[in-house]
Symmetry: C2
């Protein structure tokens, strides 16, 4: 796992939410994840395949935070994790990965994105099963927490 992969995903999430929802997350310190502690209520997952690496990425939100994002973006405050919410999480997953892909391409790392899947379920956790190290990037906001996890087979 190359640390050069961290900042493109981190800055891409901040940028997507700031631009689309006028919502500013506060990034915490990225860390190597040693066991599954992080839990959330709705997650977008996507696979990536390049000529030299492959991996997976997830973005997980607390329910209260994704409801706030939905409200800010679409003027709708949902009361459950419905299809509109999972569609939005799928879109955010695509946009964040697309943004990171562009930044990484500038640095000479190329990959293609699969299509996202969205998991709903209160307090679920995700384990990325690539052989590489797992990086956890926490984000906080008064309305709730989010985190990104990325895992790529060693470059």
């Amino acid at each position: 796992m190359n640390v050069a992969f961290i900042n493109p995903f981190l800055s891409s999430l901040l940028n997507v939410l700031s631009t689309m929802a006028s919502l500013d997350l506060t990034p915490g310190k990225p860390q190597i994840k040693t066991h599954d502690v992080a839990k959330g209520d709705v997650s977008g997952l996507i696979g990536m395949v390049g000529p030299e690496t492959k991996g997976s990425m997830s973005i997980t939100f607390d329910r209260s935070l994704i409801f706030e994002i939905m409200d800010k973006m679409l003027g709708e405050k949902p009361t459950s994790i419905n299809d509109e919410v999972t569609d939005l999480v799928g879109e955010i997953t695509n946009m964040v990965t697309g943004g990171a892909k562009n930044l990484l391409s500038d640095d000479g790392y190329e990959f293609d994105m699969a299509t996202p899947a969205v998991v709903s379920g209160l307090g679920h956790s995700i384990s990325h099963k690539s052989k590489g190290k797992k990086i956890l990037m926490p984000f906080t906001h008064p309305k709730g927490n989010a985190y990104i996890e990325i895992c790529f087979e060693d470059l």
Copy 2:
């Protein structure tokens, strides 16, 4: 979504569990999924990217069924969805997708696999967010249910 994609995944799951765990699932009728009804306790997810299509696949197990598979394969009966269980689900996800990939390659469909991620959380559900139709393949067993979902952008 090409129906030619259904049987390779279906037969690959039956084959993997029969070979590795001497466990025979009973396949139900594959169906186009119109809304998110299927829920389970542990799921493997993987992305796939080919020159002509991309998509995602998930395999979801009831807790009681994956515990039985673990017992039959490794002689261990877990009492919670621990790291050994999620590792096993990740391995099954890789093997089923690899088996389907080989079968589909024989038919002229090529894709590369990303790395799997495993979701744990009682009663979670998964929405695949590709533009293609979602196919749900249910499987039953006296110890619990499993299902595969695949979604590929239209070929």
